[in-house]
Amino acid sequence: MTPRAETTVARTVAAPRGASWLETIAVHAVFALVVVFFLAPFVWLFTAAFDGRAQAYIRLPEQPTVDIFVRIFTEHDFARALGNSVLVAGATMLLDVVAVSLAGYSLSRLDLRFKSWITYAVLLLQTMPLSATMVPIYGLAQALGLRNSYLGLILIHAAIELPFLIWLMKGFFDGVPRYLEEAAWLDGRSKLRALIEIVLPVARNGIGVVAGLSFLAAWSEVLMMIILIDKQDLKTVPLAFYEVLRTRGGYTEVQYGLIAAMGVLYAVPVMAIFFATRRMMVRGLIATSRGL
């Protein structure tokens, strides 16, 4: 083959075919529609939160103000709601990290014939919808005196996330070679100490994912809140939302400004955390759909 012919072939293969202007416009138009559709509600959220006379529709505030934010803290006790949400989500995260580390590690290292059955059962539990178990959990919580208590909230929220997180953490531990903990055993450590001193530090990325997911899940959770709490001092952010709704007239009068302000404070932490950890989260999500 002559040198000229070779370069011609090489060039055709390497460079992608240029897009026609029709294709470019069409695709970008679709993207524009998508962006408008998905972002419009958020535009409302952030404009209405600073709008003294907020409405349900998107508009630029005549006089941007932080007055609404002040109001939700002074008139609607939002600080308490926020504080409770942080407390519950944080405690849930801690409890989950401990329970999931122990369970994930144990499941990873277990050497029994029915080990795969346990993993299977854990995955099966994960698919149970909360809206189905909420009724019996209500009955159970009532019976155990866990309603209207921080303990109840924390225990239940920790439990909700367990199946998925255990499966996730087991995967992380499967990737930590056993000779590390074996070396620690020979160096005089018990299995538990070896786990804490050697294995967990090596698997700390997994722990981070578990902690993040656990916190976010507890923060966003609504159903259990509705069912378990009806006392003022324990209310969390979701309940604060519903409270604002309740101050209605005959027709559903939603105080949109308040909702928007509360929404901003409720949603921004989530967006921040997710933005900071997005690569990890997406990778974790893809992994869940693949390796079972």
Partner: protein, 353 residues
């Protein structure tokens, strides 16, 4: 310092057809460096790990200093293991790695510092102590792993192919250092390897294993000069022992149909395998009863030459002086040293003479 005893130890992994270890009995003397040698899958690593407490025997007993350790957790056995992968804790510096086993022992911090420093000095690690394992070379990591084992002053050292991941030159260098170190410390050591040269260099005694069974236990000389069966004979020594099929006829050995060899006294068998090490055959042009062969190739090694010679249908390797390098196709005469002839029963592989 301790004696180690394996008594009738057997183990079968549930996923496998044959036993990983079958009726394994072995004594290691106090202060000895014993090498478990064999091909992969022979059970040597399993035997080692059972001594460490990382695997459990199905039956049999394992004792250190006369007391059974089978029920003991690894942390209570006072043995140290150098892993093939070194198993250094990645999130700790070399110094913290070495200090780790000492942190559970009763001693004050100054004492720990002293010991760590001493061991680091011994293995030329002092300059590297603050580094994390990821920033150490393979050889340096290996020394840190060794240091971590030594600093505890355990009863027994266990080593699971600790040199396999090093490049060839470093491996031979470290080998001799290891032997000197063990002599100096005097700690009983059980060393696992598949490399027969390594075993020969290091061991006080070697235990050759194949497919879960102990084939022969003895000093390197024992194994080299008096192998108990064909497997051991061919496993030990490089280049391997020449094995020829032979018949006993008219009071002599007839190997490969044409080669007459002196027959050791009192052999009754009819067909045998004859084993002769390369150094047991000479290229001797002067001898009248020398066998004729044709050179296939000469392998010059600098210090000597290995000449591959075709005799009848067989190929034998002959050790020759470094300047002797016959070209392929050359006809040469071979003379065998009678004392170098080993006979094996072809069917069972066992040595006869």
């Amino acid at each position: 310092m301790a004696r180690v005893e394996y008594e009738n130890v057997s183990k079968r992994f549930p996923t496998q057809d044959r036993a990983a270890i079958d009726d394994f009995t072995l004594d290691v003397a106090d202060g000895e460096l014993l090498v478990l040698l064999g091909p992969s899958g022979c059970g040597k690593t399993t035997a080692l790990r059972m001594l460490a407490g990382l695997e459990h025997p199905d039956s049999g007993d394992i004792r250190i200093d006369g007391k059974s350790v089978v029920g003991l957790e690894p942390k209570d056995r006072d043995v140290a293991l150098v892993f093939q992968s070194y198993a250094l804790y990645p999130h700790m510096s070399a110094k913290d790695n070495i200090r780790y086993p000492l942190r559970v022992k009763h001693m004050n911090e100054a004492e720990r510092e002293r010991r760590v420093g001493q061991v680091a000095e011994m293995l030329s690690l002092t300059a590297l102590l603050e580094r994390r394992p990821a920033r150490l070379s393979g050889g340096e990591q290996q020394r840190v792993a060794l240091a971590r084992a030594i600093v505890r002053q355990p009863r027994v050292f266990l080593m699971d192919e600790p040199l396999s991941n090093l490049d060839a030159k470093l491996r031979t260098h470290t080998r001799t250092e290891l032997k000197a170190l063990q002599r100096q410390l005097g700690t009983t050591t059980v060393f696992v390897t598949h490399d027969q040269a390594e075993a020969m260099t290091l061991a006080d005694r070697i235990a050759v294993m194949d497919r879960g069974r102990l084939l022969q236990l003895g000093t390197p000389d024992d194994l080299y000069l008096r192998p108990v069966n064909l497997f051991v004979a061919q496993f030990i020594g490089s280049p391997p022992m020449n094995i020829l099929a032979a018949e006993v006829r008219d009071g002599a050995l007839l190997a490969e149909g044409t080669w007459r060899l002196p027959l050791p006294r009192g052999i009754a068998a009819k067909s045998v395998s004859v084993g002769i090490r390369p150094e047991g055959i000479e290229l001797d042009e002067s001898s009248p009863d020398a066998q004729v062969g044709e050179v296939l190739v000469s392998e010059p090694l600098g210090s000597e030459t290995i000449v591959d010679v075709k005799v009848g249908g067989a190929l034998v390797k002959v050790r020759a002086a470094p300047q002797v390098r016959p070209d392929p196709g050359t006809r040469v005469h071979l003379r065998v040293d009678p004392s170098a002839i080993r006979l094996f029963d072809t069917a069972s592989g066992s040595a006869i003479a």
